[in-house]
């Protein structure tokens, strides 16, 4: 029981950390596409770790099954949402800020 509790504590804090990192990323990243990467972290890793942490705290009960269903739902929908967002952005001709990209390309060409 104690180990389960510690594990859940670890999962919850890691999940919170991931969400925090994702939040900073959404604010700090330069353009839409890189921000989507940050949003993906919070959708999958952040939410997933928090849900797993909550699962470890609930015994064999209906709460556990509901949490598993929520996790499955998140794992199914968030990649789909990312796909839809990226697709719409490409169609609306959003450009990635290519500053870093071009530098890298030049480096590659120099080699």
């Amino acid at each position: 029981m104690d180990i389960l509790y510690l594990l859940s504590l670890l999962c919850l804090s890691l999940g919170c950390l991931c969400n925090l990192i994702a939040g900073i990323g959404i604010i700090r990243f330069p353009d839409f596409y890189s921000r989507m990467h940050a949003a993906g972290i919070s959708d999958v890793t952040g939410a997933g770790l928090i849900l797993i942490g909550l699962m470890l705290q609930s015994d064999w009960s209906t709460t556990l099954s509901k949490l598993i269903l929520i996790l499955l739902f998140t794992l199914l929908t968030s990649p789909t949402i990312s796909y839809t967002l990226a697709n719409t952005a490409v169609k609306a001709k959003y450009k990635a800020k290519a500053k870093d990209n071009s530098k890298w390309q030049k480096d590659m060409e120099a080699k």
Partner: protein, 330 residues
């Protein structure tokens, strides 16, 4: 202490969201912020143990109303026109009223205080007697559908009237228009991922709606939430597969019929009681055993609510979609 911290932080978030909404000129961003506002309110209701209200806020505020507002934006324009005038008088009026309201709250009993007048009136009776009277475990459902059935009928009629209003604004023509030659395109149907994932999800959404509908006696849920969830499945289908495919599932005529049917079921339950010599919406007329009668009455009423809510939302969304397609064609 920690609860107060959660309250304060959620209220601060709400304040920031509202200020952002006021400052924004991009209406698309405003709609998204309104959705966040609903999410925060839902969290707030959960913290205050009002799970049923939070559920409704989550389904209606975050889900459906955002979607309907987005469809409205698609029919109108995305950016607000800049204001020419500076309404100083209005600002003064708003500030004065706000200050008076805040001043008024100073006299209110503290939050959650048991001696507050709101908790002294009928609430004590409901808490002690509602399970014995009705045999329904969820007190919110028994108050909403049984003790306060007449109020709920009024709410349902508000939704019905709102649906009629939207249809009147969008100039719903007769169904002969559906048989036009050009097909309304379904731009999302080309995406395999969206098609497959929504095909996977729709049955579960429908199932969950039915669960919420019929489990409302025992846990959070009921007709309003179930209707919204049910309609969201059909709305998802319309968005991915196009209006024409959705009209094969259910036509405008049937939707109009169902929108009226729900209210009719609710009203007929009341009239049935009236005819048997009891008061309007007194469910004891439905069966000999009072508990059984209450269960039956609440079931009928909730089904009526669910049918009307679902039908009105689908109807409004489909009218928006049709209008969009016609605008795009013209």
């Amino acid at each position: 202490m920690s609860l107060a911290f959660i309250h304060i932080s959620i209220l601060c978030f709400l304040l920031v969201t509202v200020l952002a909404i006021v400052r924004m000129r991009d209406l698309l961003a405003v709609v998204m912020l309104l959705s966040i506002y609903s999410l925060l309110s839902a969290c707030f209701f959960v913290v205050m143990d009002a799970v049923d209200v939070a559920f409704t806020e989550a389904a209606v505020g975050i889900g459906i109303s955002t979607l309907l507002l987005l469809s409205t934006l698609a029919l109108t324009k995305r950016f607000e026109r800049p204001h020419r005038t500076e309404p100083v008088l209005a600002l003064f009026l708003v500030l004065t009223t706000g200050a008076l309201l805040v001043y008024g709250t100073l006299q209110m009993p503290p939050f959650g205080s048991a001696s507050a007048p709101a908790h002294q009136h009928v609430a004590a009776y409901y808490i002690e007697q509602s399970f014995l009277d009705t045999g329904i475990a969820n007190m919110v459902t028994s108050v909403l559908a049984s003790y306060r059935g007449y109020d709920t009928l009024g709410e349902l009629m508000v939704i019905f009237t709102a649906g009629i209003g939207v249809l009147a604004l969008l100039e719903l023509k007769t169904d002969t228009k559906v048989s036009r030659k050009t097909e309304i395109p379904a731009p999302m149907a080309a995406h395999h991922i969206l098609r497959i994932v929504s095909k996977m999800l729709i049955p579960f959404i429908l199932m969950f709606a039915l669960y919420v509908q019929f489990h409302g006696d025992f846990g959070p849920g009921g007709g309003f939430q179930a209707g919204v969830i049910f309609s969201s499945a059909i709305v998802l289908y319309t968005m991915v597969f196009g209006l024409d495919a959705a009209l094969k599932v259910i036509s405008f005529a049937w939707l109009r019929f169902f929108a009226a049917l729900g209210g009719l079921v609710f009203g007929a339950t009341g009239v049935l009681a009236l005819v048997s010599g009891k008061n309007f919406l007194d469910y004891h007329a439905l069966a000999e055993d009072p508990i059984r009668a209450q269960h039956l009455g609440v079931l009928l009423v909730e089904v009526g609510v669910g049918i009307t809510v679902a039908a009105v939302i689908i109807l409004v969304f489909m009218s928006f979609t049709r209008q969009m397609a016609e605008n795009g064609k013209a």
